[in-house]
Symmetry: C2
Subunit: 609 residues, 2 copies
């Protein structure tokens, strides 16, 4: 499986783009004409640079509005094409992309288009290059891949083939099955892009919202099934116009891009990646804390009923535990300053080594780990927000991480305040890298993404997306501001949501023990009473506990209890799922976020106390 | 003309929103239910707060999916409504907005809807409140304002009227003329929103992309003509869901919002604002410079053929001039650090006092000015990017600013290097305030905006929008990153484009004089030759001069010459318009931006030299 990427998919100068593509392991590139035109490098120098990096230049693109024109325009177009063929010779690019004419005055005559493309192919052949003709979804008369192929077939020239672009085909809702009727050797090129399902103008959709395979809503596995059945064996090339990718670090986006192709290749049996062992649960959540935030976090955990199991044998890290919920406070990490942040997640599976091998194959760099004698050998990688993901086992083997901690009192793992485990963890992501994060967790950890949801925070909209293991025992949600800009207030919160047996009971027990719980406004309960038939007693019980309520339409219920902030970015939640409720209480998030802003607690202390 | 705004249009807590609305001069607010539900203030306390700020609570909104339901649902809805009527009594809100049912299972029966709304109105009346029924553009069966009115008319209850929302009406392309057939006293409320013309799903369009009147593409003046003809005399209320506004400073957005209503009121003769005197040209561009950047700017201006006219009589500001182009270097402003930035624009008109009075009426704060004895009395305001706009006259009157400068040698205003004046000035804008900036320049200065254009910079997309005086003699363009995020590289450039008599001649003269000109890649000229019929000689002349070329389809031509950067954000351009060319060379901007990134000049010096 040969991989390529169009330079327009990456940011920076042409040199930056080539370097990023090579470093991520791509075999080739498509050079987007404006990138070359704006470059101070001559075409020959670009070729040298690509050669030096081990990249082939698979395509030069695009040449627009060539066919379906009058005779005078045809001559001008041929003159322009000859100049580009010469340039392609210097570049060492063997194939030119020609897109179907989009001009208002394009002539609707397939025979004319075929004849004109034949002439172009004849000239191309003399220059030793090939023409790949593609239907743009908004082409004036040729907008379907079957029509483009019909013209190519009619033109019947060895230097003329077609180019398939998954966006142009799937965005129109065209059935890709007829791809199988195109001879594989007449498919000169394959461009892949995914896209979220957006009800919008296809041109705007295409120019701003394409994404890498697996990041959108197209069924690219089925698409590739047809392409492979047709016998295509050329490069799988990414041509992705995306506003975020255009401004992000090209090295990072190139890694994301190649990962998307490998994951797609795996899906259709064209790439060989070690399988993802089932992520069974979070073994632990590790928080980086400073001196004051460390004291505060320990105080809150203790009040919440967690027991201090003991310190790590060689590092300034302490294990806290209640039921199966384990929290590590890392007092020596330093990267949170005196704030408290989720710095690492322990992901438990039956095969941590296999998980790490897969991660590495998918472009996640293994992090170096300092390890004392006899300590567990855990493989660690960095997630897109720099959270460390450690692959581990809690019960056996050399990756038995709990053995690295002193167990002061042989802690039995009771649930003093009704916490039985970790329900989910919510991490905020860097703005331009949200799609990367979704693909990372999906492909590297084998989680299933749910659809994204908007959440109205007092200072702007957030997007939130959950990713879950197939059995629902490991749940992660990631959030990002819907726009950049803003001042970031409340946009970067993280939290660990613990699973509770009886959240109302936990609330009362925790309040007695001095846990700083978030104050929920009375107006919330007034509205809850008006819009549900919970009845006054149940409402009063929720109000007295400061617990938020959600329900699904199959009778499932969800109870949520929040602490105040620990520092500026982190808080804890305790949740209870009843009757198969499978969501995250998104309807309550605006109330919770406003309460966090209001910065007032039921016992009168500030959020940052 | 009474003005109101929905709390959902602003960011922050409910208290923040009320304070911002009052401070911008609004008379009333619509309280959006989620803002109340999330607030720690009781309804009675909200009422007190609004009273204290001089704000009425004109509407409580919205109540959804009330009508077109089965009998059981109706009873539940009525129970919910009663709770809300009680709450409205505490709030002091007299009108409730009820939106047409959007549920899949809504019943398509106008008679049933009318009967159910009649029952609701009857209950409302008992609580002393009124119901305003509105058709949502995506209502299941009632999506047109005429259908909503027909149901209201059929229900025939004194406590039931309709609410008109310009977005829901104009987004569907409905003809607003039939508004005139609704009795004015049955229009219980009016919500105004504009929106850019976007080919997208109407729900997404409505929830994320509404904007204030005059910021989008709807003809709200015509719309208001019909509303006024119907006899409506209630508040003009802004209900604007906008991702940017939701995360911006509420005080600032409230000022922008009220400005939009005043400008609309002026258009239809409902508001009395002093007229905008014609902005005739830029009297000057003032640059804030530091010690090194000041020396560099003076050196470059001198090399470009500008003469040092002399210093200001009382401030560390120097006037430089060539032809009618005047540049002030302000060595004492300090806010640019040691960078160079456009800090002020002198806008010349026949009536600077009138321009300032208009600006103040439209919510622009007049800036305090330090003035020596006998110096010109110039009114100054701050533009959205904090650039100072000074209203002045160059030729006569007490605002004759040139008299404040010493004229060392009685400078004749020659054009040593062919510069005859200022063609346009380009300023970058803060991300969340771009719509505000467009409205500011349009309404305060009376400029005409052109449509926005995307520009592909090497590190992301920019949006650029030109605003021009009616006679085309004053041209301003403003740019903003299309997304937030990114690292801001090249997204925040400013430049002053001078008008040249003969840009090719200027280029050679300036190169001789040591002006650091931006290097244009050879590939640009290769492509220009391939795609135009300029011919080798003309291409060679452009290449030798380092001049970029653009043409329109009516034979107009545009020549552009750029300097290197002066500091990190500022550069100069010299342009020549031939044959009525009326654009800004947007097609060349990616090449220019890449050349700026490439940071290489024809004489081998760095951009930041």
């Amino acid at each position: 499986m040969r991989t390529a990427i169009a330079t327009v998919s990456l940011s920076g100068s042409l040199e930056d783009k080539l370097a990023a593509a090579a470093s991520a392991g791509f075999d080739g590139v498509e050079i987007f004409e404006p990138d070359l035109v704006a470059s101070p490098l001559s075409p020959a120098r670009v070729r040298e640079t690509a050669d030096g990096l081990g990249l082939s230049i698979d395509m030069y693109q695009p040449f627009r509005d060539f066919e379906g024109v009058g005779p005078e325009r045809l001559e001008a177009n041929l003159r322009r094409a000859r100049r580009k063929f010469e340039l392609m010779g210097e570049l060492g690019a063997g194939t030119m992309l020609v897109c179907s004419n989009v001009a208002e005055d394009a002539i609707d005559d397939p025979e004319l288009s075929a004849a004109q493309l034949h002439r172009l192919a004849e000239e191309a052949q003399q220059h030793g290059v090939r023409i790949a003709f593609e239907a743009l979804a908004w082409g004036r008369h040729i907008s379907d891949y079957r029509d483009a192929w019909a013209v190519v077939e009619r033109a019947d020239h060895p230097a003329l083939g077609t180019c398939l672009d998954s966006f142009h085909i799937l965005s129109r809702g065209s059935d890709p099955a007829a791809i199988e009727r195109i001879p594989g050797d007449k498919i000169f090129y394959l461009q892949l892009a995914d896209a979220p399902v957006l009800g919008m103008d296809v041109l705007q959709w295409s120019r701003h919202h394409r994404c890498f395979p697996g990041q959108g809503g197209f069924d690219l596995a089925a698409f590739m099934g047809h392409v492979r059945a047709a016998g295509y064996d050329g490069p799988w090339s990414l041509e992705v116009f995306n506003d975020h990718f255009r401004q992000a670090e090209p090295e990072r986006i190139a890694v994301d891009a190649r990962r998307s192709l490998l994951a797609l290749g795996e899906q259709v049996g064209a790439a060989d990646v070690p399988p993802a062992p089932r992520a069974e649960r979070f073994a632990f959540a590790e928080l980086a804390v400073g001196p004051a935030s460390g004291d505060r976090a320990a105080e809150v955990l203790e009040a919440m009923g967690f027991a201090h199991v003991g310190p790590h044998r060689s590092k300034p890290v302490h294990q806290w535990r209640q039921g199966d919920a384990r929290v590590l406070l890392n007092h020596g990490d330093g990267h949170a300053g005196d704030d408290a942040l989720v710095s690492a997640l322990g992901v438990e599976s039956a095969d941590p080594d296999g998980a790490a091998a897969r991660a590495e194959d998918l472009g996640a760099a293994l992090l170096p780990r300092r390890r004392g004698p006899g300590e567990a050998d855990l493989a660690a990688i960095a997630a897109p927000d720099d959270t460390t993901v450690l692959f581990c086992r809690t019960t056996s083997g050399r990756d038995l991480w709990v053995g690295d901690f002193v167990d002061l009192e042989g802690h039995p793992g009771g649930d003093e305040c009704g916490i039985t485990g970790v329900d989910h963890i919510v991490l905020s992501q860097p703005f331009d890298y949200f799609d990367e994060a979704v693909l990372f967790y999906r492909s590297v950890l084998g989680l299933e993404p749910r659809s994204a949801q908007d959440v109205a925070a007092p200072h702007g909209l957030l997007s939130s997306r959950a990713l879950e293991a197939a059995d629902g025992r490991l749940r992660l949600a990631i959030t990002v501001p819907r726009l950049g800009g803003g001042d970031g207030r409340l946009g970067e919160l993280q939290h660990v949501a613990f699973a509770g047996r009886d959240v109302l009971g936990s609330a009362h027990r925790m309040r007695e023990r001095g846990v700083p719980l978030l104050a929920v406004p009375d107006n919330y309960y007034e509205d809850l009473e008006a819009r549900t038939d919970l009845g006054p007693e149940r409402i009063e019980a929720l109000r007295a506990a400061g617990v938020l309520y959600d329900a699904d339409d199959r009778g499932g219920e969800f109870l949520q209890l929040f602490t105040e902030m620990i520092g500026d970015r982190l808080f804890f939640e305790v949740v209870q799922r009843v009757g198969g409720y499978d969501g995250y209480g998104a309807a309550n998030s605006p109330v919770r976020l406003a309460a966090q802003l209001n910065n007032v607690t039921q016992d009168g202390r500030g959020v940052h106390a």
